[in-house]
Structures are given as structure tokens and as C-alpha cells.
């Protein structure tokens, strides 16, 4: 008799516990990731597999947040925010630089990676220092603020005259250097190859994926780029994600990830 009551009690307790966990152990976490950035988010066409530090981070978050499944959605720099807003993805882990603008619009976690903006040129163009960029055409990525950053940098060094930042539009800028915008890194790289642009400005980590024997990076490091996990402002996940990433920064998980991917 005693035995029976005990078993029954145990069963009830188990059921309660399970039901408590069960609510989180369901559902799919949809994360937007890059497909063309080596070491961060790279998609192998053949096998359909993603690889990179951000992919690993997504998996860690899935576990941390208690989701059963992880769905990786391919995004580009131009459509990632759109997808977030549309609800196609729950968060973006896609080399999203946390600019002031973006911070205003979205909720970000602590930065999980710090990078610099760099400039890549062809050796045959004989551009070997920042001053040579005067009068040149520079390729930039859409939806980034690199053009402005570079213009400021050049102005500060008297390579180009000062200009009005408020009226700055990259594609229309005429103040000593011209900009061209590109939607994908590949197209920007091709433009550099053909000579359509004389320089290509992007995050250092991305540029390393496009380097070859005929290209070289200028020594200048333009600005610090911090990558963070971007979510909608009203997302219930933001706090937990932030906490998680803080924790991983402290305990070395993130550092280990960076070491693993050689970044």
C-alpha cells in the first residue's frame, strides 16, 4: 500500500516537471545568417550545409533558449532587416554592425565580435597609401556606412576637402572621391577586378575572403565594427540573448569560438 502511494506521487511529480519544461522544448528558432562570408556564415552549395562562427553561435543560442529546432535562413546585408521586420526570422546573426541607427531601430545583444573596416586595392593600381585614393572610385556595400566613414577619414587627413555630412549621399558624393554601391560582396569584388572601382571598402573579415595574389590591403583601419545579434525591439528573447552572450564572453565560450574559426 505504501509502495503504491509512493509510485503515484512520483508519477505526478514527473508529469508536472515535464509539462513545465515541455512548453519551451518546442518550436523552431529561426536565425538569419550570411552565406558568403568565410568563417562567419558560409553556405556550401553542394551539400547545403552552413558553416561558420555565427552558425555555431546560433546553435548555442538555440540550446540556451530552449528551442527544439534551429532553422537557418539565408540573408544578405540588404534584406536581413527586412526579413526581421517581416517576421521571417527571429533574430539576425549575420555580421550585423551595430551602428547608432540600427541600435535605435532594433534590439542588440552584447557584441560578440569586433572587426575593423579596411580597404582593399589591386596591386596593379599602384595605390599603396591612403593619399593615393584622391580622385579614385571606391566600392562600398549597400546598407553600410562605410562611405561616410571613409569620407570622414579622408577629410581628416586632408586627402579630400571637408564636406557636409548631413547632405552626404554615397552615390552622389563629388568631393574628391566617388563611391559606388554594391549589393553583394562578390559583385564588389568583381568590380575591383575589372577596374570599375579602384578600391573596395568592407569589414576586414569579409575582405580576407576575397584576397588573392594580385590584391593587397591598405594598412589603414578605419573604424571599429562590432557585430551583435539583432532582434526586434519587442522581442521577448532580447534580454535572455543578451545575458547569454554576456555570460559566454566572460567564460570564454565566445573566445573559443573565435579561435576555432581563426578569427
Amino acid at each position: 500500500m505504501k509502495k503504491r502511494i509512493f509510485v503515484l506521487a512520483l508519477g505526478c511529480a514527473a508529469a508536472l516537471l515535464l509539462s513545465a519544461c515541455g512548453s519551451a522544448l518546442s518550436g523552431t528558432l529561426r536565425v538569419g545568417v550570411k552565406t558568403d562570408v568565410a568563417n562567419f556564415g558560409l553556405l556550401d552549395e553542394e551539400s547545403g550545409q552552413f558553416s561558420g562562427m555565427e552558425i555555431d553561435l546560433a546553435e548555442l543560442l538555440r540550446r540556451e533558449l530552449g528551442y527544439r529546432n534551429l532553422e537557418l535562413v539565408a540573408v544578405t546585408s540588404s534584406n536581413r532587416e527586412e526579413k526581421l521586420v517581416d517576421g521571417e526570422i527571429d533574430m539576425m546573426i549575420a555580421t550585423v554592425t551595430m551602428t547608432e541607427e540600427r541600435r535605435a531601430a532594433y534590439s542588440f545583444s552584447a557584441p560578440y565580435y569586433t572587426d575593423h573596416v579596411k580597404i582593399m586595392v589591386e596591386k596593379s593600381s599602384l595605390i599603396d597609401e591612403i593619399g593615393d585614393l584622391r580622385g579614385c572610385t571606391v566600392g562600398v556595400m549597400q546598407e553600410t556606412n562605410h562611405a561616410l566613414t571613409l569620407a570622414r577619414y579622408l577629410a581628416a587627413r586632408r586627402v579630400i576637402p571637408d564636406f557636409d555630412e548631413a547632405a552626404f549621399v554615397p552615390t552622389a558624393f563629388q568631393g574628391g572621391v566617388t563611391f559606388r554601391e554594391y549589393g553583394s560582396y562578390l559583385s564588389a569584388s568583381r568590380a575591383l577586378e575589372s577596374g570599375e572601382v579602384d578600391a573596395f571598402i568592407a569589414d576586414g573579415s569579409i575582405l580576407s575572403g576575397f584576397s588573392d595574389e594580385g590584391r593587397v590591403l591598405l594598412p589603414d583601419q578605419l573604424s571599429v565594427q562590432e557585430y551583435g545579434v539583432g532582434m526586434l525591439k519587442d522581442s521577448g528573447l532580447a534580454a535572455r540573448v543578451d545575458r547569454a552572450i554576456d555570460g559566454w564572453l566572460e567564460d570564454g565560450t565566445i573566445a573559443a569560438l573565435c579561435e576555432k574559426w581563426g578569427i
Binding site: L42, Q49, D198, S208, W261
Partner: protein
């Protein structure tokens, strides 16, 4: 050895206890056995695998160094090749420009650019200025104002040639851009389609070409790009170009210094990884090839251990069972005491001394055998795998060398074509623009007058040209020097139609083609004689040791006599105009000369280097820390390549290679030699005029062997000791059973085959078997065997099983049905005869096969002949002897042969030896011959009853030399066959037993005969041995005391003696019954009635006494007369 004490108690035997008694003990024994063998196997297996794997990693690490070196060389090769290509194209462009007349800026237009492009073989071309403006272009769509092309325009600031660069378009096509300054402010840009060339260069210097050769027996190299994680090279499953992370790599593996296991295509590899030049390079070795050999070793060693453990256990078990059955209490020692309830001391742990004594030798042998086996197998494994690898390396080296020589030959041809082309370009330039070089101004410092030569009449025969003008030649010509520099040519010389130099870029202005047919330049006369248009010579070394390669083409120059009488040089175009009728100058004469160039030695060296011996040898990997050595075919076999520079030029013998290693027939030699104190396994093979070989140090081979042998030793000691104790110890309960047991059989009949104890005269005692059973293979049933015999039978079965298994393995392997590396190598491997492990192994294997086959044959013969009559049986026996002796002699010779002794001469000398022996072994020969004749003539056979001299018995065996006869009391007399004369063969179906009985003279003979007639039938019935009879044969003798009558009866020979006795008995009883007396001699005794006294007085008696005493003293020695022979 202990003796058994037999105690009988008056207690009831516990019959039922016997069977249940066995079970717990048996279970305990089996458990212990399984446990010890299991632990041993696990320990040995783990250690072996770990050390094998450690070996693999070490090997891979060493190989990785060679791989990195090869890659670095490859990288250098690639940049060399690129430089070569660039130089070629740029030279061609410049040649073209010169050919087209050394342009001035105004002439440049699209047509000019087009002709340049066509001549230079460019896809498109343009002429631009500093700003990027185009002045002429052909098929050129590029906007040269773009910064991308700055480098082309930058040449204006002092550089003559722009740094070439590539542009790759999105569809994958690559173009290479060259720029040269052709006029002040003007750059000629030529664009070449580089796609194919790039692919060619890639193919020649790619990861594949570098890594493809870094392959050993079971090792392969792969490379993974660190920028896009694709396989730069992966031959396994053809994964080159595919994503690495999705095909077996993990990101954790992609770090410098990685060591671990990878799996590709289902195969496990042990890998060592290193980062190089933006990629991860791995050396992979298959993890399982060694595994097979290791597994075999572990299996064998553990199986043998299990056998010995089992034998120990079985012996203990059999003895225990036997003791219980016999009711014996074995002699034992109590190790642990305990007081039981009634205060009596009980032994809790007892140690059976007698069993221990018998089992100890088995245990010790077991330890020695298991350890020895592990040691031996490990050595064999390691050696044979190293030998295989060294052989493989040597073969690889040979084939690489041959391949490289072929490649070198074709590369030479290719380069000759390239050089020839360059020569033709230069010739074209000068033919079109002789003014660059000719039209000499005698005022110039380098213009020299050709020496004049005179004939006997004092006339000039040479030194004047067609027009009677002096001939000049120019040395250190600046234009030729410029051409030479950017075409990377060493020397350019232009010869006139007389074979004299007209112009050259170095100092030899007076050189004339040699008239000596052996001279190097003699061949070029062929051009002047219009026999050939080109001459390409092979590379040669001049007197100063410089390498040169000369090429020459027919070169036409056109002369006119100028208005001032001087010789003028005009162009080919002018001459063409003359032909066309459009020339209105003085007549042009065409002359045939030679344009000759010689190639820069460095260029040659680059080409020949890769085909060279040292390059090939440098890029061959050898197992572990082994190395490659190459020797020439001279008498002393001088070293032409070695890892150590000091060896170069030394004779092979000084470096530790014996003359045996150099086999001119092309066979691969392999052997072990000591070089500077270290032992090496060496292989050598003649290839293409060189002896190439590999040497692998042996100490690395044996490094782990000793450790493993030690572990095996300890393990086997512990395991067998554990089993030993288990077999010999028994509990208190068992002790009680021993003491209480009466035994189910209170005695066992002694079986014939059992040994008994014999005391020698020296006092020692030995256990021997009776003579009768030594040659008798009589079967003793199991239950009748002693424990020792039982154990012996089991051990025999086990060892026959092992031998049989080995026999099967060897036969299957030789037939090709299974593959065991060791067996294959031992039988096929080329190892030298001598006291080495392979020879001994071969000997052991061969002898096992031989003995097994011989044993089976003997058994078969015995079985076949045993039922086929005694003659066949004897023959069979003889045949078995022949087999045995034959096998023995063959074994001895074979072992000697394997040990390297020259058995042919040994056998030859054995002939003389046998002659010597023969003289001394006459009686042996006689015996053998007598034996042969006995068998074939059938004088008597095995089983016959014969009498030889006074010895009567059964023939037990007719051997080669002796015959054994066994009498009724089981005594065996051994006769030499030659002494068997006067044999009475008593084997017949029936004999006659005859007795002689005496009757009294006074008896009535007829009455006795009547009694006999009546009693014979009854007698016959009572004596079943009588086959026929008894018969009364009459009176045999009229003796002094009796009348003897003879009675015969027919019986079997074997019964005869006993039947005589029986008949005696019967006749006695019959006579008694019928009152017939048997006489016997009687003795009559008579005695004297009155004895007569002698009449001697006392004095007489005294005299007599003295007389007698004196007689004795006279001649004591003569006292020894009759009867006493001292």
C-alpha cells in the same frame, strides 16, 4: 615428484558425491581461466594498439617535414615558371617591336598595333600614353585610364617593362597584361589569354603535383584551403575541390599541429596536420594496415596463453578427479588454518604438492613460450613491414628516376624548340633591320678588322668581302647585348658566309667555325653549306667547366656596294623589292650566314635540376627516419647521393654497404647491415645506370618490441601463476571429501602402457615403461589411463591442433586463398640466407609442414597395412622408417642451407664421408641388407613363432637393422639381422605335442594299450587344446628302468608346451585309476655290521699327527694342487 600415500578408511564411500563434486570446482576453474586470459588479452591489446598508433604518429610527423619541403620547392617552382613565362612573353614583345622597326611615335596606328599583336601572338594590344590615352589598338576593349592599369602607365617613370598582372572576368577567363615602353611616352600593352596557361602552370605546380608523389605504401597527403574550406587536394574518393567540412573534416581539425584520426571513404586514418601558405596540409596513414598484423600477434599470443592456462587447469582437474575416484588423498600443505565447531583444526586453504610438482614445468614452459612468441612475432611483424616498405621505396625511387629521365628528355626537346624560336625571332629582326648591327663604322672602338689570310702567291684569300672591302666584326655589340639580356640568352653571334664572326655580344670577334670534325662548332658548317637550316646542339660542358647549349639558324644578309665602294647592308624587304622589280638601288647580293645563340647556364640548370638524381631522391619518402642512398656503377660503387654530404664520393663499403648489395642483374637486394654502429635494413636496386637504395634504422623498429615483450612476460607470469594456484589449491570442503572418500574404484588394473619405478644401480629411481610396449602402439582406453597419460593425450591433441592450424594457414596462404603478410614475406621476400629471423621462420614453417605431412603419411601407411597381411605390414613399417630417416636428414640439410651454408658442397663431401663411414659401418650395412632380404624372401614375418638358437618366441618387429623377438615370459631379445642364422620357423597351423610315459617291465603292454584306447576320447574331450588325437605311437624306448611309450596329440604351436603338461597330468591320473605303475629307479642301501677297530697306539697317533702337520708346512703353495686353484 611427490609420491601418493594411500589411506583407507572404514567409512562408507560417498558415491553420489563424486559427480556433483566436479561441478563447482570445474566452474570455478573455468571462471578463473576466462578471467586471467581476458585481462591478459585486454592489457596486451591495449598496449600494442597504443604503441602502434604512437609509431604511426611519429612516422607521419617525420614525413610531414618532407612534405613541407616538397611544397616549398613546388612553390618556388611555380614562381620560377611564372618568371620564365613572363620573360618569354616580354622578350617576344620587344623582339617584335624591334622587328617592326624601332618605332617612332608618329607611325603608331591601329595597323601597326595589329601587326605587333599578330607577330607577338597577343590576343589584343594597344599603345597608350601616360594618361591612358590610346593611340592605336587592336581588339582592345579596355579603358586604360582606369587606375587598374596604372602599372602599365607607370613605366614611363624609368622602368622599361611593366610588372605583369592578371584580370579574371566573371566567366572565369583570365587575361594577362604586359606592357613595354616602345617609344618615349608610348607603352605597348599586349593582352594574352592566360586561362589555359594558368591551368597548365597550376597543373605543373599544383597541390596535386606536389602532393601526389608524397605517397608511401599506405600513406597519402591531403590539403584543405583555410579560406574556403575546400579540399585543395584529396585523392581519397576524388574529393579535390569539394567542401571539406561536409566530407569528413571538422573545424577543430583545421589548426596547425593537429594530430588525430580522420575518416574518409569509410577508412580510418591517423593524421598529422600543419598549416602552410593559407592551407592545412595533412599526412594520413591508414590506421588498419598495422592493425591486421597487430591483431594476429595479439590473437596468437593470447591463444597460446589460453592453451597453457587450459593445460594447467586440465591437469589439475584430471588429477583431482582421479584422486577422488581412487580414494586417494594427495600429499598437500595447509596454508591457512581455521578451528571448526568441535575444536579440530581444519585447513581452509590447502596446496596440493603433487599436482604442483607436475604442473610447474608446464607453467614455466608456458611463460617462456608465450613471451618468446610475443617477442618473435613482434620482431617478425616489424621487420617484414619495414622490409616491404623499404622495398617499396626502392621500387618507387627506381620508377621515379626512370620517369624523370623520360620527362627530362622530353623537356629538353621542348626547350630546344623554345630556344630555337627565340633564335628565329632574333634572326628575323636582323634580317629586317641590319642597320641595328651592321654598317660598321671603323671609328667605333669595338669594330675590328678581320684578319687577312694570304695564299702562296701572296694574294688575299680571306678578310675581304665580295666587293673587295675589308671585313669587319664587332665585339660587345650594345644592341646584341640588349637583345641577349632581355631574351635571357648568354651569347649571340652572327657568322658570315665564310664562317667568320661578323658581330657578337661578347669579346670573341675573330672566332671562326672550327675545321676539325671533332670540334664543337664544326656542325654549323652544315648551315653554310645549305644542308640544314637549323642546328640545335645538346648541352655540353666546355673546358672551363661551364655548361653551354648552342643553337644556330640560317641567317640571310643582303649586301650592296655603296656609291663610295663601301659595303652596305640592306634589309630583306629591300631584296624582296628587287625581286619584285621595285628596287632601284645597286644590285643586292644575298648571303647565307648563321645566327647562333647560346643559352644561359642558369636556365639550363633549372630545367635539368628537376630531373636530377638529387631532386628525385630529395622528394622520396622513406619510412620513419630512413634515407635514400645512390651509388654509381664503378668498381668501388662511389656514392653520388646521400642525406649526409660527407658520404658523397665515398666508396660504398666505407659507408656500410657490402658488395653483395650490388646485384648487376637488376634484382632487388635486401639485408641488414651495421653502419657506424647502428643497424639498418637496406635495399638496393640497379636502375638506369645507378644503384638506388633505401636504408631504414632498426632501433626504431625494436623500440616498442622490448616493452611489449616485457608486458607479455609479466602478464603471462601472473596469468599462469593464477591458474597454477587455482589448480593446486583446494578448500576445506574438498579436503574433507578427500579424507572421507573411499573412491568408486578401489583399484585400477595397471595398464600395460603405464610407467613403473625402476631403481638404477646408482641408487636413483626412474620411471620407465616395459620394453614390450615401447614399440607397441596399443590403445589404452581413457578410463584406464593414469592422470599423466590422460594429460599427455590432451597435450598431444592440442599441439597437433596448433601445428595443424599453422599448416593449414601456410598452405592456404601459399595457394593464395588468404593473405598473411608475414607468411608471404617469409616465402617470397628477398632476404639473404643467414642466421636471421626470416631464415629461421622459414625453417620452422617448412619443418612443421614436413613433420605434419610425414606424420600423416606414417599414420596412413600404418592404417592401410595393418589389416593387409603381415608381409605388407612389415613393408609398411620399413617404409615408415625410411620416411622418418629421410625427413630427419632433409631437415638437417635444409636448416643448414637456410643458415647460409653451402649445402651442395656439403652433400658432395657427404659422399666421401659416407665412403669413410661405409668402411666402418660394414656390419650396419650387413644388417640392413639382411633385413631387406628377410622381408622380401619371407623367411619369417612379424607374428611368426621362431626359435633362434635356444631362444623361442614371437617375432615382434623386423626393423631395418634389428629384429625383436618376444618370448612367453615377455622377455624381448634383440637380434642383429645379420646374426639371424639357423632360424627355426615354428609357425604352422598345428604342431604335435608328444609325451613319453614309462611303464613297468612287468606290466602287460596290451592291457595298457586297451586302457589308452578306452580313455583317449575322454581325454580329448577334457583337453580342448587337442585338435586331433591323442594318438598312441607305440614303444619309443626300452629303458633301464621303464618301457617308454609315446603319445602324440595335434595342437596349435602356441598350445603345445602347455598341452604336454596337461597330457602328462591326464596320463598320470589315468594310470593311477587303472593301477598302472610308472617305474622309477630304486636305490638299495647296505651298511656294514661290524666295524673293525684300528690297532694304533697313542704314540703312533702322535707321530701320524706330526707327519700330517709337517706335510702341510713343506710346500704351502703346492697345497694348492687339485681342487684349489688360487
Amino acid at each position: 615428484m611427490g609420491d601418493l600415500t594411500v589411506e583407507k578408511r572404514e567409512k562408507t564411500p560417498q558415491k553420489g558425491a563424486a559427480r556433483s563434486e566436479f561441478l563447482p570446482r570445474a566452474i570455478a576453474t573455468v571462471l578463473v581461466a576466462v578471467l586471467v586470459v581476458g585481462i591478459f588479452t585486454a592489457a596486451v591489446a591495449t598496449l600494442t594498439v597504443r604503441s602502434s598508433t604512437a609509431n604511426l604518429y611519429e612516422t607521419n610527423r617525420i614525413r610531414m617535414n618532407q612534405v613541407i619541403r616538397a611544397l616549398e620547392d613546388g612553390g618556388v617552382g611555380r614562381s620560377n615558371l611564372m618568371t620564365e613565362y613572363d620573360q618569354m612573353y616580354q622578350a617576344k614583345l620587344r623582339n617584335t617591336v624591334y622587328y617592326l622597326g624601332g618605332v617612332n611615335a608618329e607611325v603608331i596606328d591601329d595597323a601597326f598595333v595589329r601587326s605587333v599583336a599578330e607577330f607577338a601572338g597577343a590576343e589584343s594590344a594597344a599603345v597608350i600614353d601616360e594618361a591612358g590615352n590610346t593611340y592605336g589598338s587592336w581588339k582592345c576593349m579596355y579603358d586604360f585610364t582606369r587606375n587598374r592599369f596604372n602599372v602599365l602607365r607607370g613605366i614611363q617613370s624609368g622602368r622599361a617593362v611593366a610588372e605583369p598582372f592578371n584580370i579574371t572576368s566573371p566567366n572565369g577567363a583570365t587575361k594577362r597584361f604586359y606592357g613595354i615602353q616602345i617609344a618615349p611616352g608610348r607603352t605597348l600593352v599586349a593582352v594574352y589569354d592566360w586561362t589555359q596557361t594558368k591551368a597548365n602552370i597550376e597543373a605543373m605546380t599544383s597541390w596535386a603535383s606536389s602532393l601526389r608523389n608524397m605517397v608511401a605504401n599506405d600513406t597519402v597527403c591531403i590539403a584543405v584551403s583555410l579560406s574556403d574550406y575546400t579540399f585543395l587536394y584529396n585523392p581519397i574518393g576524388d574529393l579535390t575541390g569539394h567542401g571539406a567540412l561536409q566530407n569528413g573534416m571538422e573545424i577543430e581539425y583545421l589548426r596547425d599541429g593537429f594530430e588525430g584520426e580522420l575518416t574518409f571513404g569509410g577508412q580510418r586514418y591517423v593524421a598529422v596536420g600543419r598549416e602552410w601558405n593559407g592551407a592545412m596540409v595533412y599526412v594520413l596513414t591508414r590506421a588498419d594496415t598495422n592493425m591486421g598484423d597487430d591483431a594476429l600477434m595479439i590473437a596468437l599470443v593470447c591463444a597460446v596463453l589460453a592453451v597453457f592456462v587450459a593445460l594447467v587447469a586440465i591437469y589439475g582437474g584430471i588429477t583431482h578427479v582421479d584422486n577422488l575416484r581412487m580414494g586417494r588423498v594427495p600429499s598437500y600443505l595447509t596454508l591457512l588454518w581455521k578451528k571448526d565447531r568441535d575444536g579440530a583444526r581444519r585447513g581452509v586453504l590447502n596446496f596440493n604438492r603433487s599436482t604442483a610438482g607436475k604442473v610447474l614445468p608446464i607453467a614455466l614452459i608456458g611463460v617462456v613460450v608465450v613471451t618468446g612468441l610475443a617477442f618473435y612475432l613482434r620482431s617478425l611483424n616489424a621487420l617484414s613491414s619495414i622490409a616491404t616498405e623499404a622495398n617499396w621505396t626502392t621500387d618507387e625511387l627506381s620508377s621515379m628516376l626512370e620517369q624523370n629521365n623520360q620527362d627530362a628528355a622530353s623537356m629538353n626537346e621542348e626547350y630546344k624548340d623554345i630556344f630555337l624560336n627565340e633564335c628565329i625571332q632574333l634572326k628575323d629582326i636582323l634580317e629586317e633591320h641590319p642597320e641595328y648591327v651592321f654598317n660598321y663604322d671603323p671609328e667605333q672602338p669595338n669594330v675590328h678588322q678581320q684578319p687577312l689570310t694570304y695564299n702562296d702567291a701572296g694574294q688575299v684569300t680571306a678578310g675581304l668581302d665580295l666587293y673587295g672591302n675589308l671585313c669587319w666584326s664587332v665585339s660587345d655589340h650594345p644592341f646584341l647585348q640588349e637583345l641577349a639580356e632581355y631574351n635571357t640568352i648568354h651569347k649571340i653571334s652572327v657568322f658570315d658566309e665564310y664562317g667568320r664572326i661578323m658581330a657578337t655580344n661578347d669579346g670573341g670577334w675573330s672566332f671562326t667555325l672550327s675545321n676539325d670534325p671533332q670540334g664543337q662548332s664544326y656542325e654549323f658548317w652544315e648551315i653554310l653549306a645549305d644542308h640544314r637550316d637549323t642546328v640545335t646542339q645538346d648541352m655540353s660542358i666546355d673546358d672551363e667547366g661551364n655548361e653551354n647549349q648552342y643553337l644556330g639558324v640560317a641567317f640571310y644578309y643582303y649586301t650592296v656596294q655603296g656609291p663610295d665602294g663601301a659595303t652596305g647592308y640592306v634589309s630583306k624587304a629591300d631584296y624582296q623589292r628587287q625581286i619584285d622589280g621595285a628596287w632601284d638601288g645597286p644590285p643586292i647580293t644575298k648571303h647565307r650566314g648563321i645566327m647562333q645563340i647560346s643559352i644561359v647556364p642558369e636556365r639550363l640548370r633549372n630545367i635539368t635540376d628537376t630531373a636530377s638524381l638529387s631532386y628525385v631522391a630529395d622528394h622520396t619518402t622513406v619510412h620513419g627516419t630512413g634515407y635514400v642512398c645512390i651509388f654509381d656503377t664503378s668498381e668501388d660503387h662511389l656514392c653520388v647521393y646521400s642525406h649526409s654530404a660527407t658520404h658523397l664520393g665515398m666508396p660504398a663499403a666505407d659507408i656500410g654497404y657490402s658488395p653483395d648489395a650490388f646485384d648487376p642483374s637488376g634484382e632487388t637486394y635486401s639485408g641488414i647491415a651495421t653502419v657506424l654502429g647502428d643497424r639498418y635494413f637496406q635495399t638496393m636496386k640497379l636502375t638506369d645506370g645507378y644503384y638506388v637504395g633505401a636504408a631504414v634504422p632498426m632501433d626504431t623498429v625494436y623500440a616498442t618490441r622490448d616493452r611489449i615483450a616485457l608486458i607479455v612476460f609479466l602478464g603471462s607470469v601472473l596469468s599462469i601463476a593464477a591458474m597454477f594456484l587455482c589448480a593446486c589449491c583446494f578448500s576445506a570442503a574438498t579436503e574433507k571429501r578427500y579424507l572421507d572418500n573411499e573412491g568408486t574404484e578401489t583399484g585400477r588394473t595397471r595398464n600395460e602402457q603405464e610407467p613403473f619405478t625402476l631403481t638404477m644401480p646408482s641408487g636413483k629411481s626412474r620411471r620407465v615403461r616395459s620394453a614390450a610396449v615401447r614399440w607397441d602402439a596399443e590403445y589404452v582406453p581413457w578410463h584406464a589411463k593414469t592422470p599423466d597419460q590422460k594429460f599427455g593425450a590432451i597435450a598431444k591433441v592440442v599441439f597437433h591442433g596448433i601445428a595443424g592450424f599453422l599448416f593449414l594457414a601456410i598452405v592456404l596462404c601459399r595457394l593464395g586463398l588468404i593473405s598473411v603478410d608475414v607468411i608471404n614475406y617469409v616465402y617470397e621476400g628477398v632476404w639473404s640466407r643467414g642466421l636471421n629471423i626470416f631464415a629461421l621462420t622459414n625453417g620452422v614453417f617448412t619443418l612443421i609442414i614436413l613433420f605434419e605431412v610425414a606424420g600423416l603419411l606414417e599414420k596412413a601407411i600404418k592404417v592401410v597395412t595393418s589389416n593387409a597381411g603381415s608381409r605388407t605390414e612389415t613393408l609398411g613399417h620399413l617404409f615408415c622408417s625410411v620416411i622418418r630417416y629421410g625427413v630427419a636428414i632433409f631437415s638437417v640439410f635444409y636448416i643448414l642451407y637456410l643458415c647460409g651454408l653451402d649445402t651442395q658442397s656439403l652433400i658432395a663431401s657427404a659422399g666421401i664421408f659416407s665412403l669413410v663411414i661405409g668402411f666402418g659401418a660394414q656390419s650396419l650395412i650387413q644388417d640392413i641388407l639382411a633385413g631387406i632380404f628377410i622381408v622380401f624372401e619371407g623367411e619369417f614375418r612379424v607374428g611368426d613363432i621362431v626359435t633362434v638358437g635356444d631362444f623361442r618366441g614371437n617375432v615382434l618387429e623386423i626393423g631395418l637393422r634389428t629384429t625383436k623377438i618376444e618370448d612367453i615370459t615377455k622377455n624381448i631379445k634383440v637380434f642383429n639381422n645379420s646374426n639371424l642364422s639357423g632360424i627355426i620357423n615354428m609357425t604352422k597351423e598345428a604342431s604335435y605335442a608328444s609325451i613319453d610315459v614309462g611303464i613297468e617291465y612287468g606290466e602287460s603292454l596290451e592291457r595298457v594299450e586297451k586302457v589308452l584306447e578306452e580313455e583317449f576320447p575322454a581325454m580329448r574331450r577334457r583337453l580342448p587344446a587337442i585338435l586331433d588325437g591323442p594318438f598312441y605311437r607305440g614303444v619309443s624306448a626300452l629303458n633301464s628302468s621303464s618301457v617308454d611309450i609315446k603319445i602324440l596329440a595335434l595342437c596349435k604351436e602356441g598350445d603345445r608346451v602347455q598341452l604336454c603338461r596337461d597330457m602328462n597330468r591326464e596320463i598320470l591320473l589315468i594310470f593311477k585309476k587303472h593301477n598302472i605303475g610308472i617305474p622309477f629307479p630304486q636305490v638299495t642301501v647296505s651298511y656294514l655290521q661290524d666295524p673293525q677297530p684300528d690297532r694304533l697306539s697313542d704314540r703312533d697317533r702322535k707321530e701320524v699327527r706330526e707327519f700330517v702337520e709337517k706335510q702341510k708346512e713343506i710346500a704351502p703353495e703346492r697345497g694348492a694342487a687339485d681342487g684349489e686353484r688360487g
